[in-house]
């Protein structure tokens, strides 16, 4: 099997509500996959199950690391899942507001570096060298996302579009194999959305990541995605290429009604 992410039969309940019902999904290496559906379809819940925020009721989540090793993600805490190569952004931006732009990205590098507390006392030179590497690779990411002018600004003082890009930068700093983007274009004007469209493609090519995104902007979804999954009421109702999905009667019904 080559899929980087393979989800089988994932279900999640909130009290009596079936938020996810037997959802299957797979993402191939370097693929851009979109997850669409009306509000309340369970898309963000799906992300929350993948990243370990909610424990799914049933189903399995497997991820294949770049080394080729497969690991089961169910039941792992979020930080372990991030270490396995999954990173995400949020619909409502969640940066560390009182930290600088650079620090926000540096935090992301932590899970790929090793220095412990004792290291800082006993091996100061090695720790300082590692710290320098973290700064260097953070700068590299910030440069690619066009944030070099604001490295020392507090994250909360950035304009909206820059905050969105910073969130992606922080996610990239964890060196993911799979990047989850939750409505990256929310609140953006058409020009910003077009820039985002290019940026996401660029990120896939440079960082060789697979991308799974939730998005309501159909123009963006149709132009970016290799494949699209459509959800409604917690169930998967369609999957296919943009052209196939656009013609699918179940999708048309879900979006436009009978």
């Amino acid at each position: 099997m080559t899929a980087i992410l393979k989800v089988t039969g994932l279900s999640m309940n909130f009290g009596g509500l079936r938020a996810l019902d037997d959802v299957d999904l797979r993402v191939e290496p370097r693929e851009i996959v979109a997850l669409i559906g009306p509000n309340g379809a369970g898309k963000t819940t799906f992300f929350n199950c993948l990243t370990g925020i909610y424990p799914p009721v049933s189903g399995t989540i497997f991820m294949r690391a770049s080394s080729g090793k497969q690991s089961r993600l169910n039941g792992l805490p979020p930080n372990k899942i991030t270490a396995k190569g999954m990173a995400r952004t949020f619909q409502n931006i969640r940066l560390f507001p009182e930290m600088t732009v650079l620090e926000n990205v540096m935090i992301g590098c932590h899970c790929r570096t090793s220095a412990g507390i004792l290291g800082a006392v006993f091996r100061p030179r090695a720790v300082r060298a590692e710290e320098q590497r973290i700064v260097d690779s953070s700068y590299k990411i910030l440069t690619r996302l066009g944030l070099t002018d604001v490295v020392n600004d507090l994250a909360r003082n950035l304009p909206y579009g820059a905050q969105r890009r910073l969130e992606i930068a922080r996610a990239l700093a964890t060196e993911p194999a799979l990047l989850l983007l939750d409505e990256p274009a929310a609140g953006m004007n058409p020009r910003e959305t077009a820039e985002l469209n290019q940026l996401i493609g660029k990120i896939r090519d440079i960082y060789e990541v697979a991308i799974l995104l939730i998005e309501h902007d159909m123009k963006l979804v149709m132009s970016l995605s290799d494949r699209i999954y459509v959800m409604e009421y917690g169930r998967r109702i369609a999957v296919g290429t943009p052209v196939e999905v656009k013609k699918n009667p179940a999708v048309i019904k879900a979006y436009l009604g009978e």
Binding site: T51, G52, I53, P77, P78, N79, T82, A83, A87, R88, F90, R94, F96, P97, E98, M99, E103, M106, I107, G108, H110, C111, R112, T113, A115, I117, A120, E131, I134, R170, A171, A173, T174
Partner: protein, 300 residues
Amino acid sequence: MNYFLDLFFSGLTRGSIYALIALGYTMVYGIIGLINFAHGEIYMIGAFTALIIASLLTVLGMNGMAILVISGLAAMVYAAAYGYTIEKIAYKPLRNSPRLAPLISAIGMSIFLQNYVMLAQTSDFLPFPDLIPNFAFMEPYSDFIGSSDLVILLTTAVAMLLLTIMIKYTRMGRAMRATAQDMQMAMLVGIDVNRVISFTFIIGSVLAAIGGLLIASHVGQINFYIGFIAGIKAFTAAVLGGIGSIPGAVLGGFILGLTESFATGYVSSDYEDVFAFGLLVLILIFRPSGILGRSENQKV
């Protein structure tokens, strides 16, 4: 003038002890939103550990400064072990419970530790050796500042400087700030939040142990109850400065120490607490989030 300076320096000395303890309250609150009422007990246990080790070393015939350093290190290690363990058994299992649950657990832990020390040691006041030597060069100033005041002030300053550097420039410091600002997001960028929380308790306990050792040597006696009083005062200092804010805890500690000292000196020692808590009431009326506190979670 000398009387004023005398009060001023004894206020600073007192304030720096409050500040050392208040830092533990404020850091823990900043990270997990818990008032760790057992924190004063850590300070008391630090003082007792130092007393036991210091007595032992005195019997072995070591000199003053060496005893101070070794018993201080022992107190820090022992207190850190207590702080770490308390978090693991009394707070971690309640991490996702309603906020009141860990608070009750903290009060229970505080009562438990007080009684444990009372039973294991004694309920009487124990004399604490004067470990801080009298420096000859301090002689001209002895009217208003003693050698132990100087050592306390310097130690506190160094401890706070190290803490600031740690939080601002090290990776653990970054992880602490990130956890304080958004714990779930911190996990999602790969931070092991449990380690960060344990570390916070350890640092807070080490600072409290330093405070315990210094004040015990300064005052000259300890008992099992000193942690309760000092804990309440330091908690007041943390709230005064804005709980969750590190500079706030330090500022609150000094303001409280100076207020008490001047109230004792110029009014009456009977009114020391009235002034201290009166000040707290006043500040909370005009700035409910404390002097340096933000209205909404500015933490660590």
